[in-house]
């Protein structure tokens, strides 16, 4: 049973990682709390679902959801954040919260208040070893998350753009004096972050078999807690924090049967870690 709960926890943690990474990357470069990222995640789920209903093919719909979210993320950056970047950072935060609320309402108006089903045949099959069983959707989540993280790691460590992104995260001004095109880096940053959020939206849509207008409201604040827990702007820290939160939630409610709302656990973990490590798990002063 412990193994089964481990699988449950890692699956949830993987999705948290996909959502939180975009948030931490945006913060790393722009120092903006991009709350509307959770709206991009929901948008990814809806785009994926619409694509699935049109072409009836899961993998194509996953790609559609990711691309749709990436385009939306890019537009948000160009049209909303860019013009106000010279203002204090509270301004983009307000814009972001407003946009998130507007997006939730837009989904409700466009797709209705009801839960829609994302009943896709993934075609992967489940993995059973003795009493331990990785369900088909858990196999899917682990596989997709692994591939995306691998891609992200290769991109950040093996490409010029990745190097530029890491340089900007350290110090944007110095990076730009060395000839880094900061605007392009910011755009790529949003595109990759949103791409991952879109994947998370589709994966959760299939994992829960449900897509609904306010599906981003809990991730909106939970991802913030995870990002702080991991060390703001720290990519490996965010992945680690996501897995810890996913596992902690699963074990608290499933094994210890603590009568405790699961969504509070990310915050408790955050508070505990900040008491001893003020810059997060892997963050540096």
């Amino acid at each position: 049973m412990i193994w089964q709960q481990l699988a449950n926890g890692i699956a949830v943690g993987s999705v948290y990682a996909l959502i939180s990474l975009g948030l931490t990357m945006v913060y790393g470069i722009l120092r903006i709390l991009h709350v509307a990222h959770a709206g991009i995640y929901t948008l990814g789920a809806y785009v994926g679902l619409v694509a699935f209903r049109l072409v009836d093919h899961f993998w194509l719909s996953l790609v559609a959801g990711m691309v749709g979210a990436a385009v939306a993320g890019y537009l948000v950056e160009r049209l909303l954040y860019m013009p106000i970047l010279h203002m204090p950072r509270i301004a983009p935060l307000i814009v972001s919260i407003g946009l998130f609320t507007a997006m939730e309402e837009a989904f409700r108006i466009a797709a209705g208040p009801h839960t829609l089903v994302y009943n896709a045949k993934v075609g992967l099959g489940e993995l059973t070893i003795g009493g331990f069983r990785l369900t088909e959707t858990q196999v899917l989540i682990l596989l997709v998350t692994f591939l995306i993280l691998l891609f992200l790691w290769l991109f950040l460590t093996r490409t010029k753009m990745g190097l530029a992104m890491r340089a900007c995260a350290l110090d944007t001004e110095t990076a730009s004096t060395f000839g880094v095109n900061v605007n392009a880096v910011i755009a790529v940053n949003f595109i990759i972050g949103s791409f991952m959020a879109g994947a998370a939206g589709v994966l959760i849509g299939v994992y829960d078999n449900q897509v609904w207008p306010t599906m981003g409201s809990i991730p909106a604040y939970k991802a913030l807690a995870i990002v702080v827990l991991g060390g703001l702007g720290n990519i490996p820290g965010t992945v680690l924090a996501s897995l810890i939160v996913g596992l902690a939630e699963t074990f608290f409610i499933g094994v210890l049967s603590v009568p405790f709302p699961r969504d509070a656990i990310a915050f408790i973990a955050m508070i505990l870690v900040l008491m001893f490590r003020p810059y997060g798990l892997l963050g540096k002063a």
Binding site: M1, Q4, Q5, N8, G9, V12, R108, G112, P113, H114, T115, V117, N119, E126, T128, R133, T135, E136, T137, I204, Y207, D208, N209, Q210, I218, E249, T250, F251, I253, G254, V255, S257, P259, P261, R262, D263
Partner: protein, 394 residues
């Protein structure tokens, strides 16, 4: 004062006169009945179902000449499943709309907020399917809300009926419970656990999940699977119910899943898909009841809205018809309506034959339905008086 101001005042007075004339004449023509349901928000499917069904009932009453020659006008409010909305709705119904009576097509949360306000104003209400005891009872003053009547079952009664069926018909001995942590989940699972233990069954584990918000039930179900129970009693609304049923199947759980009226929605069947097959529920509507009131409703609802009716709609329809029937008998005086409701006897309702109301609580059999080929079908009827008679409140 200038000439313009004088003219404006005259105009304003004229406008006011026109409006004040329209008001009373319109009110004399129709008989207003208030209605509220969660038409948007997390329970939107149930809210719409209740609204659709009650509007169908209004059409039927009006087609038959209305009540005492007056057409019924339904005043509809959306409570969005929020208690704070419900307060405003109750006050509007009393003060602004001046309705004759109210029908609740909503859950316990909003309904138990509206109930004491209507009780204080002396306005009768019939609740369609809210399950919480405090709809008909004021826990602060420890007195009954005697203007409030309920067509649905108390959570405890429905839970007990499910346990009766599990032990006596399914011969289950080992039970696990997974219930939502709100009024509904707590009362219905408590009723189940009490009755099951009284009949000698064991409750292996009771898992409570957060509502709203929980979507991933795998941690709970993994723990439940460990005990390998005969029956898993699941208490929740259709979204949660569907996720539980699907995820249980994914995890390879073979135990019989037994649900309650929260499952009774086309949305449950849609979201759960094939995993719904064989799920048994305790509810308040028997689709295979041959009485014309049932079959006509099912047929008319389908014709009007293009999908099948559910328990929520049927119970709300009944609630409206029970209130309309009382107004037909007693007129529009609230005290007289209350008396007529108290005197209800062997009423031929859509959701079963109502023998009477006891302290506002309905007395009628609980329906056990099973999902077969994507539809709810009759499985059994629990009419043991020990179970369906509501407990005396004090």
């Amino acid at each position: 004062m200038g000439k313009h101001a004088c003219w404006s005042l005259c105009l304003l007075a004229g406008v006011l006169m026109v409006f004040s004339n329209v008001g009373p004449t319109a009110a004399q023509e129709t008989l207003k009945i208030g209605f509220f349901a969660p038409i948007t928000g997390p329970a939107a499917a149930d809210g719409m179902s209740a609204k659709n069904a009650v509007e169908l009932a209004v059409q039927e009453v009006n087609a038959g000449g209305g009540i005492k020659g007056k057409k019924v006008e339904l005043i509809v409010y959306d409570d969005r499943l929020k208690a704070e909305e419900a307060v405003a709705i109750a006050n509007k119904l009393i003060e602004k709309d001046k309705v004759v009576g109210v029908v609740s097509g909503s859950y316990s949360g909003p309904t138990r907020v509206v109930a004491p306000i209507l009780q204080k104003a002396g306005m009768p209400m019939v609740a369609g399917y809210a399950v919480h005891p405090d709809v008909t009872w004021n826990p602060n003053t420890k007195t009954p809300n005697d203007f409030i009547f309920r067509n649905g079952f108390l959570g405890e009664i429905e839970g007990a009926a499910a346990a009766e069926f599990a032990v006596k018909d399914l011969k289950a001995k080992r039970m696990a419970i997974i219930a939502m942590d709100n009024d509904f989940g707590r009362s219905i699972s408590a009723g189940f656990a009490d009755r099951a233990e009284k009949l000698g069954a064991t409750i292996l584990t009771k898992q409570m999940y957060k509502f709203p918000g929980e979507k991933d039930f795998r941690p709970y179900l993994t723990t439940i699977k460990e005990g390998n129970p005969d029956v898993i009693f699941a208490a929740g609304y259709y979204n949660e119910a569907a996720s539980i049923v699907r995820q249980a199947k994914e995890l390879g759980i073979k135990s019989q899943i037994l649900g309650e009226e929260g499952f009774d929605s086309p949305k449950f069947l849609e979201i759960a898909g094939e995993a719904a097959e064989g799920v048994i529920i305790a509810t308040n509507l028997d689709r295979d009841d041959p009485r014309p009131v049932v079959q006509n409703f099912l047929k008319n609802y389908r014709a009007a809205y293009g999908h099948d009716a559910d328990m929520v709609g049927a119970s709300s329809y009944d609630a409206f018809m029970i209130l309309a029937d009382a107004i037909k008998k007693a007129g529009t005086d609230p005290k007289a309506i209350q008396k007529a409701l108290l005197e209800t006897k062997d009423y031929d309702g859509l959701t079963g034959k109502i023998s009477r109301f006891v302290q506002g609580e309905v007395v009628k059999p609980v329906q056990i339905q099973i999902v077969k080929e994507g539809k709810f079908r009759r499985k059994a009827i629990i009419d043991n008086p020990e179970i369906i008679t509501p407990p005396k409140k004090s």
